[in-house]
């Protein structure tokens, strides 16, 4: 089975830079997949993408060495299994609150006896290889988002769930959960920043990967230096907006 490239990188202590896809198009996905991202995450939650678009996007990304991940829009086994069958090499699951939810999520990604994923890996076989059924439990990344109040309370039990490969921090939701503003790139004086540090610390102690969503290259670098294993920066959607603003301000001012 094709190795999960970013899992290997993280195991070797290399930082992973993850691109973010919010536009439902194989064209934007292909442009992104020819830049130097290590992985690309198709966002079925806050991206404007559903399965129908995600499938050809996964097919398009497959022409490069970039590892394809998907953030599902909810902790729902049918959706998780379906997108794994479509060839995703990892799942980011939002709003995981406690151990039970974490297990429900992780085990949806695992074939028995480790979990309850239903067998029929169609594109998994094409993208991963004919021995997919033997190795997919290992290769597929299972990443739980830590972003709700409950998840902070239950952090230890979540992190100890068997098969969970890592956590992913959504700073906007985490901010709201803590009574602060949403938004990326929290500064050090915020409660959210403190909690981010605690989550990172606990993830390290549990020897699982820690990742975070950021809004700029500068903050992404800061997070990597802090010890995060993987970071996301912006998105295809935000690139268009940001680049347009830059161009137009140069011309119009």
């Amino acid at each position: 089975m094709r190795k999960n490239k970013i899992k290997q990188m993280m195991q070797q202590g290399k930082p992973v830079i993850n691109g973010w896809l919010q536009i439902p198009s194989t064209v934007s996905a292909e442009v992104m997949s020819h830049e130097d991202w290590d992985s690309l995450t198709i966002d079925l939650q806050h991206g404007l993408i559903s399965y129908e678009s995600a499938l050809p996007m996964l097919q398009t990304i497959s022409s490069t060495e970039i590892t394809p991940l998907v953030r599902v829009n909810w902790n729902e086994p049918g959706q998780i299994m379906k997108i794994l069958d479509a060839g995703s090499y990892g799942i980011i699951c939002p709003m995981v609150n406690n151990k039970k939810e974490a297990e429900k999520f992780v085990q949806a990604c695992l074939y028995p006896p480790d979990g309850y994923r239903s067998f029929g890996p169609v594109r998994g076989l094409i993208y991963g290889g004919s021995d997919y059924s033997k190795h997919s439990n290992d290769e597929i990344l299972k990443l739980a988002m830590i972003e709700t109040k409950d998840s902070l309370v239950n952090l230890d039990e979540i992190l100890s769930v068997n098969g969970l490969d890592g956590v992913y921090i959504g700073p906007s939701d985490l901010g709201l959960a803590l009574g602060e503003d949403p938004g990326f790139d929290k500064n050090k004086s915020t409660k959210t920043y403190s909690e981010i540090c605690k989550i990172l610390d606990k993830a390290k102690k549990n020897r699982i990967f820690a990742g975070i969503h950021t809004g700029s290259a500068e903050y992404a670098l800061e997070m990597l230096e802090l010890g995060f294993n993987y970071v996301s920066v912006g998105s295809d959607y935000r690139s268009i907006s940001a680049h347009s603003k830059t161009v137009l301000s140069k011309i119009k001012n």
Copy 2:
């Protein structure tokens, strides 16, 4: 943030006439959005529409002043949050049976601390404006359908749920629930009609909006006179059928 026009109308005691979209096409949606409807509801339940089509329909409707609503196909947080992020200004949730379900629904539409909606309002920002995160809890309409046996039993507790803006009656399901036939525009001798009146009455007492699905302009008027705040009449789908029948009967008879 852009104001929810029909919420304002209802608060001012003005009747809201809602159009209904069952065809998965931006073209039919655009035709409807250039007629004099106050709001348009994209029906993800009994319409033949899913997210992939609903998104460009919402984008198309955005070129007019008509308020866009969506009926989801189930009380499922992932679906509700995703369509809110796509810019819907209200959710009609089917088959709400009791307080717990009503809260699950309403809180899926609300950012913490009022609810558990996940943050990332993409098109919400584009359609609503840059201060979406501050005001969306207020502007988004949360409308629960009253149409099952259980919902009649638990009506009081449903109506008292914090943040619920109104109820919407599905006369077909309500009829079936009461052992009568499905179908719109119940006459006064039916049990369903009696229950409709009771629901309306209780909604008024709880100071929340009441709406109902109808099959004709005449019945819609009757319902408005009865005190309903908003009514839906037919659909794009039914318009094609009705108009064809009219034309063909004139020619062929």
Copy 3:
């Protein structure tokens, strides 16, 4: 091969009532195909439909006995042959100006030695039957639009083109060509009306079918009484608009 039902009807002197599809959706097409139209024309010219949508619309219409026709957006062989392969049982070709253009159109619909249609009838075989290649030259309706100034000048030579089954009048373009306003349902005092009568008369003399686009059941009836073999009335698109206006004026006034 499945018989062309409306060709048979016209040969037997029966009026054909044609429905018009401008919305790119299988759903609106299916609703129309379950009303009592004799044929349905997918409009690739002034409809908002291209091949990608027309294909599943043709597949959907195939579940009924209604004859499927297509109006192409230009007299282009590639487009004409492709939509015939998709199972259309007739082509309405716009803007035919003279004999050469009429022959170019008609022969694009005919296999050699009668024309130059390329062989590969895929859905033609599925919809028409396995002997499609033997009979399709006969069954497929070739209908040229008469609507430009030049076409009036060259009418006789156009009507005499071998294999042409009929003409179709576009009253809006014809009106513009004659220096009058566009629009359907011309009254008798207009130049356009006079030309319509002449075209009808000449079609009859050439023993080919004559059809016209109309905007109302009343005018369609008038045209049938005048001797037209087939008439189109409104469209799915216009039905939605017309029906909405009716409903809304009843409620809002």
Copy 4:
């Protein structure tokens, strides 16, 4: 209402040969629907198909006498009801573990008072007929998959659920559940084969239909001889692969 052809066949003791659709295209669906299958199942679970594609596939299949079924990707009422409204004449539900889940599934297919399906059968009316609401509870096939460890333990209670028409065996998942390899066409020495026989036996005792997924005509025949009422063989997806391999090995060797 249009009769469920394969339900009738099975009641008459005739074997039903079911084709399997994994490709999201009306074209592959149409090719399959013009071969001699008795029914076709659109696979929303391990097929690469979602609602958006399934809808026009159902519309396309409707032009033939083949009974359309759908396998949903999870036991989720919103999804089940929506695809029934789209005209599916039966649901195969994966991963049914116990009585409660079986009831949740079956009752999602039934209008009150037998179940809790919401009323609004749109395409059901078009495909089934105007008396759909009266007969659909009977005509729609409700088929539960038996493929998990728990389902074996709870088999008796599952089979006794009111309204359940039959079971469907997924040999791959069943194999994994029993600690054996996934894959179709188990040989007689396997535990999976023994369990298949037991399930078949119990289904017969409960007078409900039994079906199984197979990978070859030979094994399908064997299963029919064993007493199964319906069998699926391969899929459109696998046909392309298998046929290509045959052709290429002939040429390249």
Copy 5:
């Protein structure tokens, strides 16, 4: 009829900054339409977009005040008329070589007696208004690309064609035509630059608008200072690539 905003701006001597759409998605189109572009051009030639995607993109752009233009992929009347009916407020036509071709193009955009556009403006009516047929000949921008060897030879006759509103320079094709490299933002020492200046000069003499495609804000500014009326800069597609490169180089270096 809605005024053509950028035509007015150019008449008033204001520079027009045009954005460029190459991604077939309403989402990227919507992001672009909420930045400060004066107009947006959907590129059906070297963009990865066809009619099926362009239609909802036009519908989406319509929610803003940005003027929508389309570059067609060839000088074909069917394609030009169809996209005008879809609501485009201007056409950029590639590869115009001589007077005859220029007239063929321009007159495809004009209703008789000025041209031969076929009547049926569907979305034109919705976007432009109910008096579209009266004013569209004036409002629609007809822009011919000057980029081939022949077009340089025949420049005077092209520029004098009645109804032509302006020219648009494709520097890549022009470069190739002159035996230089393709690419944007030619420096002053190139033959291409000299020709660009000549074209601009002649356009001014013929009192029609001149525009040019550029690859950077800096060059766009230079072209505006040179006297160009409108400039395009980059594209949505290039924004994603450029922004990703910037972010990744900051992090990885």
Copy 6:
């Protein structure tokens, strides 16, 4: 620039086995691209595919080493250039009748000064590499179909057109042109077979490649032995039909 693998193979005297895509789906395309075909041709003529579907199919095929070709539906420069920009590595052009048409076709594939292809190779750069503009005139295969009466008469002049890489024989159209039946795999007693041999012979004399469409592995082998450089066999569409027939006849007989 990525080398054209099948051009290299043919230059080295290796037979090329070409698969044929008629289904508009990335899924069928992906299945085909993981079988041992040397090249795959997306058929925009008699396949049920248009640009909108062809684009993601090309993106999907790009994940393998299989060379992607496209058959356009007509000798139209706009269509040819657009699909080359989408990354096709060769064009099969139908119905080429004479030298002028052959030159029109070939030069549409070539940048100046060899032809008149417009510059803007978007996906060409992604699939081919950043030096695409330098080498694409060489790498892109230009293949003219010989299948009409006129093409037989004008064969010598067609074959001598500069830049033409090869011919492709459509036996069905050729059969019709010669007054015989359409269909593949002509036997030796037919006029069509004789002409096929003559075309092959002349292609060899002009040192260009010769290919032919076949309906079976056996006939494909025969054609390769006869000296053809490349052969197509069946299609994805026909595979589904053929494989279903095999399976069903085994079970039902």
